[in-house]
């Protein structure tokens, strides 16, 4: 290819990629906000944001929508009622980004935190005002016992979340890994049981036990990988990959160094 042609191709490529990148960098255009927001969180702001962004699935004043109905922005809307779920549920789902969902058929995933902190607080206050419900928990993981936490996590949580909190699979749903969650979110999830997760009451896991569990989960962010490269902490699959993609090629190279290649006379 001639020099000029090459430059032209590179320009088009670079330009095209930049456009895509810039487009991705724009905030999602799905959120509707009032043109002027007050400087402090308020139930009223929460009510406005809720009406504009959440009611198409959760209904006006969080009454719930029981059969799919076209809503704002062309999204099919359907969702559970929110009366009595309390500040805890609203805080959890919004801070993790599980809500809002881009499609009612999706499993909630924690990659869409679309509201500012002030907006989040407002929405939480509004949902809490819909009916009496549990408040945001205040766990204290430093008061927990790491060993008790590991035992309880293994008993109650590892079946879905994997012993090292690396996440996993339940038929029909993905269980998220927990390295990116903070103590409050863990406490909230345990009590709520979001999506397909069962809730765990204080009778089953007391608050002090929950502190221990949270302490253990937080510790999985910095596992004691005394053996070297952790290769994922999920067990034999990466070990097999290392065997076949690192050890075997090296050994074949060793054989080629020591032996000889084909030759034809």
């Amino acid at each position: 290819m001639t020099g000029n042609r090459l430059i032209a191709v590179l320009c088009v490529l670079f330009g095209g990629l930049s456009i895509v990148a810039v487009a991705q960098a724009q905030p999602n255009s799905g959120i509707v906000r009032p043109t002027t927001e007050p400087s402090t969180p308020s139930v009223q702001l929460g009510s406005q944001l809720f009406a504009a962004n959440c009611s198409s699935c959760h209904g006006i004043d969080g009454k719930g929508i029981t059969s799919p109905r076209p809503g704002a922005g062309g999204i099919e809307g359907m969702g559970p009622p929110l009366k009595g779920v309390g500040a805890m549920a609203a805080d959890f789902y919004l801070r993790t980004g599980f809500m809002p969902l881009s499609s009612i058929h999706d499993e909630p995933g924690n990659d869409r935190v679309l509201f500012s902190n002030k907006e989040l607080k407002s929405l939480v206050a509004f949902v809490a005002s819909l009916g009496p419900g549990p408040g945001i928990p205040t766990p204290n993981p430093t008061a927990g016992n790491l060993s008790e936490g590991m035992q309880l996590f293994t008993l109650h949580c590892a079946g879905c979340h994997q012993e090292d909190a690396e996440g996993g699979f339940v038929t029909g749903a993905r269980v998220p890994p927990l390295q990116g969650v903070n103590a409050t979110e863990i406490a909230e999830a345990v009590r709520i049981g979001p999506y397909e997760m069962p809730p765990f009451s204080t009778k089953l896991i007391s608050n002090s036990q929950l502190n221990s569990i949270i302490k253990y989960v937080l510790s999985t962010k910095h596992d004691d990988n005394a053996g070297g490269w952790r290769i994922g902490n999920i067990g034999p699959i990466p070990e097999g990959l290392v065997t076949w993609w690192i050890a075997v090629p090296l050994l074949i190279i060793a054989c080629m160094l020591v032996g000889r290649r084909f030759r034809r006379e």
Binding site: L146, T154, P236, E239, V242, V248, F262
Partner: protein, 465 residues
């Protein structure tokens, strides 16, 4: 000046009469293509397993008696566990070099089986299992399948959560053997899972004594038979024939090479043992039968079984109130049994199908046996596809590809892809053979042309001064 070796050599020959054997043995010939060294790689991995295994056995406590841990690893502090598990946590975290040797031992096990598999592939695709080497082939398969059991027992001895689940599944698969499964498991375990305390002694003695002795004996016979018949060779020149072997003598040529390979293998295994973590059992925690974890997997060489078990649709074969074939039988017993059966019988099946009953000392290039190569690739793809499905859940977690969709793709794919591959590979082999012939003819034509040129040049008159 006196030869320093003279006295030792005379000493040995006077007491063992071994000089003629040594004289002949030193000049035993090795055809030295690099792919003939893969079996040696497995042998050296085995030696590392023995050496590191002996060290580990000096620290391991094969007892399921309960104890409480108070040691270096805080998350386990105060937890109840078996003596076996505690001793392995201590080896890993409380004894210097314990972790290095333990990890090297486990890497060596994974690599040992992998080396045997690529060695098996080399032997298969070069037709080196043919007469007179069928016995060596059978012994090799026995070695491979025995090693699968040996590795399974080895990592199950630790009594951690991950391997305990695997043992539970092994019990379930054992129960699924038609008619006798229940009786057999009662005999081996002594009681319903988790069995009696003696079950651990049984696993231990099988893993450290009985099976290693069996493996060592089989390896010895394997090597003796190879030496008796000499190694196969590729036909790299007209001098390489079925009757004449060409190679490097054991001494001085092959000895430093084999020693070098041994050091490479041991080096790679210890580098892995030091740099890449494997089976961090302190993170898994101790096993109890009422506990489980998501993402439990066996070591890679048993992954084909978990894939097979997961692929099966839900049914038990019953006769009235009796369960003739419980579900795990198909994936856990029949599938590996068929694979073993196909491999064991292959030399004789091939003899029957090709009518070739001759002795073969020359190795084929894969393209020279299109049907065999195609069958081998197809069969391998079948086993590999079943094996790959075993990781479908993790693929879903990582990349979102629906597990159910993968299930149906693989249920169909494992039957559809191998026959297609058979036809494709066979055609490819035949094409390659054809290009060989064309290449030969082209070379011959060019030779003739060059000869013609030279003749013309000789006939040309000398230029006058």
């Amino acid at each position: 000046m006196k030869d320093p070796f003279e006295d030792p050599v005379r000493f040995i020959d006077e007491r063992t009469a071994a000089a003629p054997l040594m004289r002949k043995g030193m000049r035993y010939l090795f055809p030295d293509h690099w792919s003939f060294l893969l079996g040696e790689v497995a042998l050296y991995a085995f030696i590392v397993l023995i050496a590191t295994g002996i060290y580990l056995a000096l620290f391991f406590d094969p007892s399921t008696a309960k104890t409480v841990y108070h040691g270096a690893y805080a998350p386990l502090d105060g937890q109840t566990m078996s003596d076996a598990y505690k001793s392995v946590v201590n080896i890993s975290l409380s004894y210097k070099a314990g972790l290095l040797i333990r990890q090297t031992h486990h890497w060596a096990a994974d690599v040992f089986v992998a080396a045997m598999v690529i060695h098996l592939m080399r032997v298969f695709f070069t037709g080196a299992f043919r007469k007179p080497r069928e016995l060596i082939w059978i012994i090799g398969l026995l070695l491979l399948f025995t090693s699968l059991l040996e590795g399974y027992l080895g990592y199950s001895l630790v009594d951690d959560l991950l391997s305990g689940i695997g043992l539970q599944i092994g019990y379930g698969v054992g129960l699924s053997i038609p008619l006798v499964g229940g009786n057999l498991m009662m005999l081996i375990f002594g009681a319903p899972f988790p069995g009696t305390a003696q079950f651990w002694s049984r696993m231990y003695i099988m893993h450290v004594l009985v099976i290693p002795l069996l493996l060592a004996t089989l390896i010895g016979v394997h090597l003796l038979l190879i030496m008796g018949r000499h190694h196969t060779q590729f036909r790299e020149s007209p001098r390489h024939t079925e009757r004449r072997i060409i190679g490097v003598p054991l001494f001085p040529g092959q000895t430093p090479r084999s020693l070098a390979l041994m050091f490479y293998v041991v080096a790679i295994l210890f580098l892995l043992g030091g740099l890449v973590q494997i089976n961090p059992i302190w993170q898994w925690g101790p096993f109890e039968p009422w506990l489980a974890t998501n993402g439990a997997q066996p070591d890679w060489y048993l992954g084909w079984l978990i894939g097979a078990l997961r692929l099966m649709p839900s049914f038990d074969v019953t006769i009235g109130h009796y369960t003739l074939i419980p579900n795990p039988f198909w994936g856990g017993v029949l599938f590996p049994g068929i694979v073993l059966g196909v491999l064991v019988s292959f030399p004789w099946v091939e003899r029957r199908l090709t009518g070739d009953h001759r002795v073969h000392n020359l190795a084929d290039r894969p393209r020279d046996a299109p049907n065999r190569t195609a069958f081998g690739v197809a069969f391998l793809s079948f086993v590999f596809a079943v094996f790959a499905f075993g990781a479908a859940d993790r693929i879903f977690v990582l990349w979102g590809l629906s597990y159910n969709l993968q299930l149906y793709i693989f249920r169909i794919g494992i039957w559809v892809v191998p026959p297609i591959l058979f036809l494709v590979v066979r055609r490819a082999c035949r094409e390659l053979q054809a290009t060989d012939r064309i290449e030969e003819m082209r070379e011959r034509a060019e030779e003739e042309a060059a000869e013609h040129e030279r003749a013309l040049a000789r006939a040309r008159p000398e230029p006058t001064a």
